[in-house]
């Protein structure tokens, strides 16, 4: 065998061995590599700015638990819930329920916050993407539980009953920031992330809790 050819062959063999034998980086190094790749892979477009990629501790903890299949430690989950609970604010005027007809429109709309939506345009709630709500709308998703008869089955339709008050406050909090009650809920944090206004949330509240709403028929 010609010597140069031999050297070339052994160089190729070494290159191949190095590639095969190269150890996998540690999990922490892979996390770092992922962050570097994220930094090189996205650009701002419209209102979807790069800050939307910034790590949020709650999101990081939940993502890691979901990726590894190892549930969050109970204390970590409680801490996430406590942090998010602090963001919940009662309505400024003390009134929780708006107009259920407006609520239905918001629940139907999936508009808002993408790079193709005009900045400042009205955001929808995307509710039907994941939930059954009124019985008339058949095109609903199943990522979240059915909300049909939401107020009725929770006995939450009496204006002055303590049950109603408790359910009203819980529902308000859940729409404002679902992760106050379930650390890694898939539901968007509508108030905390500025997706829906207080008025919009009141309308959705009415859709779920007004005795006259089709949801409770």
């Amino acid at each position: 065998m010609n010597r140069i050819y031999q050297i070339a062959l052994s160089a190729a063999a070494i290159a191949l061995l190095t590639a095969c034998a190269a150890p996998m980086p540690s999990s922490a190094d892979l996390d770092k590599l992922t962050q570097d790749i994220i930094g090189r892979s996205f650009r701002a477009q419209g209102q979807a700015k790069l800050d939307r990629l910034s790590p949020d501790e709650d999101n990081q903890l939940c993502a890691e638990a979901e990726r590894t299949g190892v549930p969050l430690d109970a204390k970590v989950a409680e801490a996430i819930e406590a942090r998010n609970m602090k963001t919940i604010k009662a309505p400024a005027d003390g009134k929780y329920l708006g107009d259920f007809k407006e609520g239905e429109k918001i629940a139907q709309s999936g508009a808002g916050k993408t790079w193709t939506d005009a900045e400042g345009s009205a955001n929808g709630g995307n509710c039907y993407n994941c939930h059954q709500i009124s019985k008339e709308e058949l095109s609903y998703g199943t990522l979240g539980p059915s909300l049909y008869n939401y107020g009725k089955i929770r006995s939450a339709l009496e204006p002055n009953s303590p049950v109603t008050k408790a359910i009203t406050e819980y529902t308000w909090g859940k729409i404002q920031n679902a992760r106050a009650y379930n650390a890694c809920s898939n539901m968007p944090r509508f108030a905390h992330k500025g997706v829906l206004t207080e008025t919009q949330i009141k309308h959705i509240m009415a859709l779920l809790l007004d005795p006259a709403s089709p949801v409770n028929k």
């Binding site: 980086p25 979807a48 979901e66 916050k113 995307n126 039907y128 993407n129 095109s139 500025g194």
Partner: protein, 264 residues
């Protein structure tokens, strides 16, 4: 098109008790109707012509392009992509690899093609090429290589990206595509963490989208997923979109390639 789907859904909804099943069935029937005469075939023909045609500053064809199985080998290439390429030192998917070949063999400016908006200029040619090349692997089983450390690293990065929550809504890919048998509105969501979802989902793109009358490659599909997740804009052929391709493709191992498919 939304109205048509909705109307078709309503036809199937005479009995309320079977409402959900029937509307899903109606959509499946509608898809089957569309499948007969998938316009993707027009893009396949265009792609095959583009592969053989002498083009670009170097007036060369792509017939010597190495898609991972040797120069000019097209059949079976797609079910093994993304993979590591020694000449670029990168893990590449079909579309980013095509841009490399267009640059090296034909003398096009690869960066300019990558920056061209989807559906415009040379980007539409990349999509047509990808459509033809994927069709040449139709019915074959996914078998992405994981022997190179860079391929295994990209799988792990892809997995991290798949579960990463962000944007204004805290959504991750996994929010919609991490469980079995879920729907968004009436649209079934494949579970992309395992088969059959990963093979079915990843294995269907490029696909012809009836709703906007466009052929979409996998890069545009992922770009639009990120749009709907309310993330910033992933660049064409970015490491993030390629890593996700590795993650889904490896999860889909053994699944059947159905691309180019037809989608609502």
């Amino acid at each position: 098109m939304k109205k048509l789907v909705f109307a078709l859904g309503l036809i199937g909804l005479s009995a309320a008790a079977f409402a959900q099943k029937s509307s899903t069935d109606s959509i499946a029937e509608y898809r089957a109707m569309l499948q007969d005469g998938n316009p993707a075939e027009l893009f396949e023909a265009k792609g095959e012509d583009l592969w053989k045609q002498k083009r670009g500053p170097k007036n060369a064809s792509l017939e010597k392009c190495d898609l991972g199985k040797g120069a000019g080998v097209v059949k079976g290439a797609w079910v093994e992509l993304p993979r590591y390429f020694a000449d670029t030192g990168k893990v590449q998917d079909l579309e980013s690899r095509l841009v490399t070949c267009m640059q090296e063999l034909q003398g096009f400016n690869g960066d300019e093609i990558a920056k061209t908006p989807f559906g415009k200029g040379e980007q539409s040619n990349v999509t047509a090429l990808a459509t033809w090349i994927s069709a040449e692997s139709k019915g074959m089983k996914f078998n992405l290589p994981q022997s190179h450390v860079e391929e295994r690293k990209m799988y792990e990065v892809g997995k991290r990206l798949f579960f990463m929550r962000g944007g204004s809504h805290d959504f991750a890919c996994a929010t919609c595509h991490g469980q079995d048998d879920k729907r968004i509105r009436l649209q079934d969501l494949p579970n992309l963490t395992k088969n059959p979802g990963a093979g079915n989902g990843f294995g269907a793109w490029p696909a012809y989208r009836v709703s906007n009358g466009q052929m979409w490659g996998a890069q545009l599909r992922l770009n639009d997923c990120y749009r709907q997740q309310r993330f910033p804009y992933p660049l064409f052929g970015s490491e993030a979109t390629i890593a996700l391709g590795v993650y889904m493709g490896v999860n889909g191992k053994g699944g059947e390639a159905t691309a180019p498919a037809i989608k609502r």
